[in-house]
């Protein structure tokens, strides 16, 4: 049992290291705060860009999603609009 748990943990660590997570957010957006807490709770490392200040990043986000609501999470090749816990958990393999 312990070996399986250990292997699962190693596999998860590798998955996290291989998958880049980028969060487009603003400091005032309440769901961004909630999402960051969720990432922290699940030990997800992520890069955060503040689209309220970084105009280039805002442009990039608008082009990728066709909309301007935050949070937007980029997980590898996938892009998730909003605090869609189900979808984000699935993409990050969080149970």
């Amino acid at each position: 049992m312990k070996i399986i748990t250990f292997l699962q943990k190693k596999r998860k660590e590798k998955f996290m290291a291989d998958t880049k997570v980028k969060l487009y957010s603003t400091p005032t957006c309440t769901y961004c705060v909630a999402l960051k807490k969720f990432f922290e709770k699940n030990d997800v490392e992520f890069e955060e860009v503040n689209v309220a200040e970084d105009e280039e990043a805002l442009k990039e986000m608008k082009e990728k999603t066709g909309q301007m609501g935050v949070p937007v999470t980029e997980i590898g090749e996938d892009v998730v609009v909003g605090f869609d816990k189900k979808k984000i958990s699935k993409l990050l393999e969080i149970n």
């Binding site: 957006c29 309440t30 689209v51 301007m68 605090f83």
Partner: protein
């Protein structure tokens, strides 16, 4: 079909509180909700929930939700599309499914009132927003418009004026409706322009919003504003339209309840929180009302 004792519709402060009490009373129940967002999920900082000096709306809601989940009370995230009477109680209809119960508590809350003009729906999330706290910061150095000159509109305009180049307030009446001290603050800001007696008619854009058109009610002439954001702050409406005449509503579509018991005019049907005609639309009130509704429903079910 599996007949339950109780179904709670809605996942805000009222519904979750009812759920917690139902779980503790060991009722055979189910909570159905479209999502756990609603008004509280979109609220900024809350400073009037006892025990929390300063907490974000979604964070408080998340803590309510995890409290309920602690009890293993069944929850299904499905939007309720209809409610009707069945032989022994009620039938709650969601997309492609239906559930039956002896009693129902409705706690579906409210949503922002739409303006109902062309372009509004099309550009939601593309420049049209109902939440300055959520989306305001995306409009740094941009021209934006805020529709509605009540307190929410004025507070929104003040927040937006910190980011935006220029903020237009469009008010349909001949003067602003908000509190005097907010009006004074707004008038002091150099980048806020007030437009009164104007009716917003259309929101324009291509991929994103580029402007809006309004009619000046004094002379009937139409004008355009070049704005990249349009914030709509014209109040909220109760989420009661799925009820189809099953329950008595007041003239602003709120469910009429007995203030002591949260009973509606329909036997076995209870309601609590902002969807009802309760006077104070507050999180702490909604939670209390959820408790009252559950205790009344409990005695209805057990007697």
């Amino acid at each position: 079909m599996n007949m339950k004792e109780l179904i709670i519709i809605g996942g805000g402060p009222a519904g979750i509180t009812a759920g917690i009490y139902a779980a503790r009373k060991k009722l055979d129940g189910l909570l159905l909700t479209k999502d756990f967002i609603g008004q509280l999920g979109n609220a900024g900082v809350m400073e009037n929930w006892p025990g929390e000096k300063n907490i974000q709306g979604p964070e408080l809601l998340e803590s309510f939700k995890s409290h309920l989940e602690n009890y293993e009370f069944p929850i299904k995230q499905e939007e309720v599309e209809g409610l009707e009477k069945s032989e022994d109680g009620f039938r709650v209809i969601t997309e492609g499914k239906s559930f039956e119960s002896e009693a129902v508590i409705i706690t579906t809350g409210r949503r922002p009132r739409p303006l109902n003009v062309p372009g509004e729906e099309e550009f939601v999330g593309k420049g049209v927003s109902y939440c300055v706290t959520c989306d305001g910061a995306l409009f740094q150095d941009k021209n934006v418009a805020i529709v509605g000159g009540g307190n929410a509109g004025l507070e929104g305009a003040l927040e937006l004026s910190d980011y935006g180049k220029k903020v237009f307030i469009l008010e349909i009446g001949d003067r602003l409706q908000g509190d005097e001290y907010l009006i004074d603050k707004v008038k002091d800001r150099k980048n806020i322009e007030l437009l009164t007696k104007v009716k917003t008619e259309k929101i324009m854009g291509d991929d994103f919003v580029t402007g809006l058109e309004y009619e000046n009610l004094s002379d009937g002439k139409s004008s355009k504003l070049e704005v990249e954001g349009v914030f709509i702050e014209i109040g909220s409406i109760p989420n009661s339209n799925f009820l189809n005449g099953l329950v008595e509503l007041n003239d602003v579509s709120e469910i009429k309840i007995d203030p002591e018991t949260c009973r509606t005019a329909t036997e076995g049907l209870f309601a609590a929180g902002d969807v009802t005609d309760v006077r104070d639309k507050q999180v702490v009130v909604a939670a209390g009302e959820g408790c009252k509704a559950l205790l009344s429903a409990y005695s209805y079910i057990k007697n």
